[in-house]
Point group: C2
Chain length 406, copies 2
């Protein structure tokens, strides 16, 4: 696992422009009815780049184009262009042309090869994205580009998000500081219409493309891929990272864990921001499953609990309803032993050794008044564990998603 | 597939006491705060019996006991006892003793061996079921037992169900009539706290135990196992059938399909009643997936759509949001080709050949005002199909499940 280096890891306020050599902008391009809807992120020098994309088989045009660009460059990029208000998904060949056009327009302004620009979109599926609006907005973004405009970029990528998500950290590697900054948007792990999850991370460390790719995948597994709002999977999800080396520090195998730990920390803060700002959410729920026969089993059970409507509504209602957790554990398709299983809400044991401890229910109900809730379920089948994060399910979630587009 | 014999199949009003030789009762045993909560179903003569039980690994005591009884008798039973108001699940060895006690008390009254009685429970998990109340209620039920009390039994097994579910049919086999009757309860495919799905079916046909078991499994696959309210899986789910031969007709391999078709029809009516009465439901949604690479793929995609919060809330809001269906198809883990896929709401094509037909959206929105909605999604990957049924997701669902036990 990780070599913890907490003594050198410092969380900072700031986002993608905190590391040296990155500038950003967020402008109003008229894609949304109103508000910031076009973000531009530029590294002053060539950067290595890596990304993870949605596993949805209905992949949006910007996903296809960005993946193609990374393959062509072998993991190099100078800029990322992101629009909100339109997902450019299920838009056929015309949509792919628009995504290409976005990259080409930015490349002309930044003065780099077109395949050194990555693109991302979020918003309504099946609606044509206006390349004209992007072309008109980009020069404006280029003019606004600055080291103090990271927050504007973070706001420009929002859709139903109740607040922008930024995170940054500094860590010392070989006696010299490097910084990592990030921004993200999304109200769900997978929300195809309006809450696609997008994450963008920068660092002024230098990393070979393969090592950067590995660091990003490792971090995403424990953070962005460990959250869920509604169990849906978007056509547009992506997390991208640029490493420009402006700090003068190169990360190698020997210092990998220090960098990876800092990156995980920045990504986790962004991921938890997404859950906390989940559609209709009032509580952040940490679900830890222990006693799994394997890590995969523990993750699967934790995800099943985090996506259970009955678990999420019970916590919304402040009900320490451990029976719903046991029922999910039993149907999650993993090894489970009812007689060895246990449920804790906070640190209060409600079920253990095959029998209820309901005398603790009032104490647990009181605990559930908190905004941040921890649930621990032991599957009684081994020693593996996994943690995922979710939010409660409120009537407001239904209202947001039933009334969308009406 | 089925040899359709619609000309001889007649749907009737009635339930478990419509077939010859069955009597039932529903009484108030004080397990719930108020109302009918104990049902007894008795065959006047020995009957062959079959059952399917929840696949949840946290199995309730009555599931363990009924499965054991069927194994001991090789598929014979005289009576079924069902209580609502308490699931007798996660109650340890003491709970198993209570389930045994229920069967023993009924066997003494009916005058049959204890393992010829099947038991089922529905209600809150983790609460002890009072054997004393069952023992006091059963003689009352025995006294009320009658051929016109099927409706009382159907009401006695309800928990949050907004209405009782009964169904019956008559079909001619070899020139002679047999009848099938059923009752069911549940507000979800799997709802661990209060909406466990229970189904009980009777027939006056005679069937060998193995053939009855096959008929029940076939029917359940296409009906009770093809519905979902919230994707949860109960600790107590079961469907049981008794075949007492009182009609004088024996079903064999030659006449199996006629019987199986009638049984499927009765079970489907009960299953659709469960969905229509799903927690907070305002619409019955039929989801048909075509173009699957396999039947399993088609079923998996259909279930994913039927359990998607975004699909269910869109339909609740009357929004013909085909993008959410395509997004689910793409993440369902099945073969899918976006360029060959298609979405129809009712008979209105909204997506085909990789592109939207949004000019039809107003017509589709108008169609969604109906109470019964049909959605068809072609995966573009083959020729297999599957149909499942679900309901919409409303704020009322959240209210019911957040406020339970408070």
């Amino acid at each position: 696992m990780t070599t913890r280096t907490v003594h050198t890891l410092e969380m900072l306020s700031g986002g993608v422009t905190l590391p040296w050599g990155f500038r950003a902008a967020g402008v109003e391009a008229g894609i949304k009815a109103k508000g910031l809807d076009l973000a531009l992120l530029v590294s002053d020098r060539p950067a290595t780049a890596a990304a993870v994309f949605t596993t949805n088989l209905a992949q949006a045009a910007p996903v296809l184009v960005s993946r193609d660009h990374l393959a062509r460059t072998g993991g190099q990029a100078r800029a990322i262009v992101v629009n909100s208000g339109c997902a450019n998904a299920c838009t056929g060949d015309a949509g792919v042309e628009v995504a290409h056009g976005m990259a080409a327009a930015a490349a002309a302004l930044v003065d780099c090869p077109v395949d050194h620009v990555l693109v991302a979109s979020t918003g309504v599926i099946g609606v044509a994205l206006s390349l004209e609006k992007i072309r008109q907005g980009l020069p404006q973004a280029m003019a606004a580009l600055d080291v103090d405009q990271g927050a504007a970029a973070a706001r420009a990528i929002m859709t139903t998000d109740p607040f922008p998500k930024e995170s940054a950290a500094r860590v010392s590697i070989g006696g010299r500081d490097i910084a990592i900054g990030g921004m993200a948007k999304g109200s769900g792990m997978i929300e195809p219409m309006m809450a696609t999850m997008l994450g963008f991370v920068t660092t002024d460390a230098a990393l070979p493309a393969a090592l950067l790719d590995r660091a990003l995948r490792d971090a995403v597994h424990d953070t962005f891929n460990a959250i869920t709002v509604d169990g849906e999977c978007s056509t547009n999800d992506c997390v991208m990272i640029l490493a420009n080396g402006a700090s003068g520090v190169t990360v190698d195998e020997a210092t990998y864990e220090v960098f990876a730990d800092a990156l995980r920390t920045v990504c986790l803060a962004l991921a938890l921001g997404i859950v906390r700002g989940g559609e209709g959410a009032t509580k952040l729920i940490t679900v830890t499953v222990t006693g799994g026969a394997s890590a995969a089993d523990a993750r699967r059970a934790a995800k099943a609990m985090a996506n259970s409507l009955l678990v999420k509504t019970a916590i919304h209602g402040g009900d320490p309803n451990w029976g719903r957790l046991i029922a999910v554990a039993g149907r999650a398709g993993v090894a489970f032993d009812l007689n060895r299983a246990a449920v804790m809400i906070g640190t209060i044991v409600l079920f253990k050794d095959g029998r209820p401890y309901d005398q603790a229910a009032p104490e647990a109900a009181n605990y559930l008044r908190n905004d941040d809730i921890t649930i621990t379920v032991n599957l009684g089948a081994g020693t593996a564990m996994s943690t995922v994060w979710t939010c409660d399910l409120s009537a407001e979630y239904v209202r947001i998603n039933a009334e969308y587009r009406t």
